[in-house]
């Protein structure tokens, strides 16, 4: 959610004003509406998050009470140790990292290379191919999941990493996003590089990619978050700690005893959110940096 909001701001160079300047540029009524909308969005995102964190520190008997308790008193951090003792948390974590790393890497490489071919290399039928790729990958996951499952099971790939990773690697979003980015580059720079004797890969690596850094970071971040949060397919593909990621592991936590103790589940959820959050904080400055400045006269 916020990743996408941020993304649209990085691309906002083309004319979309950023949230702040947009609000400042309007009259008092517009401003009031702007802030109201911001507060609303904040609440929609923040309240559930707050509730997750608070619950993760509550004892079980403090969770289902009326009136609701907004602070975890008594403080009960034992939920966190319970997560790691009741399920093989570190194994799930490792699986998540492996799956996310490979799926995201493949997606990013495929997205960049296909976008490059579809925007800067000339070949007949280029636009048609682009439409076909988009159309094929616009088909919702849920429709293809059954046939994918049948195929992968037939290959004997259940409970294997390749069974989880490979079917997740198609990307239309990345192709689309990076293609638009590449097309928005000043074409004279690309022509200059071509005249300077840069071959296709050198052109991509030394000229096109450095100019597209913010978009690439945004795309990578969204991809990593999406892969990290991927649930349905890994859930179908794996049912034990050898290959299942954290998201699937959390469900095992939930079903282990008759009445779910939400404290440890929420603690697990918080632990699952943390790595992505950290990544976000580290990378967000990279996305905002405009790297095209000075390339061409404005």
């Amino acid at each position: 959610m916020s990743a996408i909001a941020r993304l649209s701001r990085t691309n906002g160079r083309a004319g979309m004003p950023s949230a702040e300047s947009g609000i400042q540029g309007r009259g008092p009524v517009g401003k009031a509406f702007g802030y109201a909308a911001m507060v609303l969005v904040l609440l929609i995102i923040a309240v559930p998050l707050f509730w997750i964190v608070v619950t993760s520190f509550k004892r079980q008997e403090n969770i289902y009470v009326r009136p609701a308790e907004y602070l975890p008193i008594p403080f009960h951090p034992e939920n966190y140790s319970e997560v790691t003792s009741r399920i093989p948390f570190s194994a799930y974590f490792r699986n998540s990292v492996i799956i996310t790393f490979f799926t995201a890497s493949i997606k990013i490489v495929l997205g960049v290379l296909s976008a490059y071919a579809l925007s800067l290399l000339r070949f007949p039928g280029r636009n048609l191919l682009f439409v076909v790729i988009l159309a094929a990958l616009m088909v919702p996951n849920q429709i293809t999941v059954i046939s994918n499952f049948a195929l992968v099971a037939q290959l004997g790939w259940r409970n294997t990493f390749q069974g989880i990773i490979i079917p997740l690697c198609g990307t239309a979003f990345g192709t689309f996003l990076m293609r638009n980015q590449f097309l928005s580059l000043p074409h004279e720079i690309i022509e200059a590089a071509r005249m300077d004797g840069a071959g296709p890969l050198k052109l991509l690596w030394r000229v096109v990619m450095p100019l597209s850094w913010p978009t690439l970071v945004a795309f990578s971040l969204i991809t990593v978050v999406n892969e990290w949060n991927e649930y349905l397919w890994p859930f179908l593909m794996s049912d034990d700690a050898r290959t299942a990621p954290l998201q699937v592991g959390l469900t095992f936590l939930q079903n282990n005893d008759g009445v779910t103790n939400w404290g440890p589940v929420m603690a697990g959820t918080v632990l699952t959110i943390l790595p992505v959050l950290l990544l976000f904080l580290v990378l967000q400055r990279q996305m905002i940096k405009g790297l095209t400045s000075g390339a061409v006269k404005s």
Binding site: E188, I189, E191, A192, M195, D196, A198, G294, A295, K297
Partner: protein, 366 residues
């Protein structure tokens, strides 16, 4: 070192009614500085891009050193281009920008270093080599763009309005620098501009383009003295030539009511009406008693040593005279002038300086 030949080269962009470059035939000898001028949208950039291989050719041929360039990729043509927007690589320092092409060509490291340093010295860029384009001024970027072209020691330079984004003062100094540099390096150069002064001062020859068609290629002096048609006459020269359409009667034309005797041989080739043009210096101010045209002064551009006076001729009721476009007369006065806006002054054209064109075709008669 190379010769360039455009042989009826044509570029017709898809979904446009007329070709952007229409059968241009142009021979550029080795080492020449050729300036390409014309109004906006006349196809200058397209012509240059065709030569560089960035634009396909829909008809005719382009030859470099006698070799047809059809199917030769831009990187294999050995042409260096200076873009209007400079198109520097923003992620690279000035040094890397200049070295990029050499490294791609696998030139040995010490030689890359040496060639870049040499170019930097010529262009006075030595202090900037570690800076990135974002940290440079417009003039500095322009020089880096030039440097990137000259380190390659290419067969041909293509420059597309490289000075248009500089301020007036910098433009004047850079103009002569580029011209000198070209003379020194002796590299065949095609230089696009729509600036009069650049066209008249920088090149060995000037090619005038209009609507994708080549109008005239000649030395700046010949272009000014013997324009082949009314378009070239009015495009070249600043302030512009004053032109009037007139009927021909017994060796005379009528300019704003004033009969002017012209060369009979010239006039005899006219099929109908003619267009007569006089440059600003082809007018003289005459006393009130002598035949002339009374002009009400509208604008005086005084340059100190000389002045250009723009004015509207007082109405003359004469069917034979129709002014072309604006009915203004522009004439030059040597030295200081005490003419002021609103004054009336009597001027007369000097007949032997007349440019005479056919009114229908616009072609020069003589």
């Amino acid at each position: 070192m190379a010769t360039v030949l455009f042989d009826e080269a044509t570029r017709h962009y898809p979904k446009t009614p007329t070709p952007a470059v229409d059968k241009v035939t142009l021979e550029i000898p080795d080492g020449e500085f050729l300036v390409l001028v014309g109004p906006s949208g006349c196809g200058k950039s397209t012509t240059l891009r065709m030569l560089a291989g960035l634009e396909p050719i829909d008809g005719g041929r382009i030859l470099i050193d006698g070799h047809d360039q059809a199917g030769v990729r831009p990187r294999d043509r050995d042409i260096a281009m200076v873009f209007q927007s400079y198109a520097l690589y923003p992620n690279m320092s000035a040094f890397e920008n200049m070295a990029f092409a050499l490294r791609n060509a696998k030139v040995a490291k010490p030689e890359v270093e040496q060639r870049v340093r040499e170019a930097a010295k010529i262009l006075e860029l030595e202090d900037l080599l570690t800076k990135k384009p974002g940290q440079m001024s417009g003039g500095q970027r322009q020089r880096v763009a030039m440097g990137r072209a000259i380190v390659r020691q290419p067969k041909v330079f293509c420059m597309d309005e490289p000075l248009s984004n500089l301020d007036a003062k910098l433009r004047v100094s850079t103009r002569s620098q580029i011209a000198q540099l070209q003379r020194r390096l002796g590299v065949t150069t095609v230089y696009v501009t729509h600036d009069q002064v650049e066209a008249m001062t920088m090149g060995h020859r000037v090619a005038v383009l209009k609507d994708g068609r080549l109008q005239q290629v000649d030395t700046p002096a010949n272009l000014y003295d013997r324009p082949v048609n009314t378009f070239v006459a009015s495009f070249i020269g600043s302030p512009a030539i004053t032109m009037t359409r007139s009927a021909v009667r017994e060796g005379e034309v009528t300019v704003h009511g004033l009969p002017v005797a012209l060369d009979r041989a010239t006039l005899s080739t006219a099929s109908g009406d003619v267009v007569v043009g006089f440059r600003p210096e082809a007018w003289e101010v005459v006393g009130a008693g002598r035949p002339g045209i009374d002009v009400r002064v509208e604008l005086v551009e005084s340059l100190g040593s000389e002045a250009f006076v723009h004015g509207e001729p007082e109405r003359v009721v004469d069917d034979a005279t129709v002014a072309l476009g604006s009915e203004r007369i522009t004439f030059k006065v040597i030295g200081k002038t005490d003419l002021d806006v609103g004054d009336t002054v009597r001027v007369a054209p000097i007949a032997q300086h007349a440019h005479v064109f056919d009114a229908e075709s616009g072609a020069r008669l003589s």
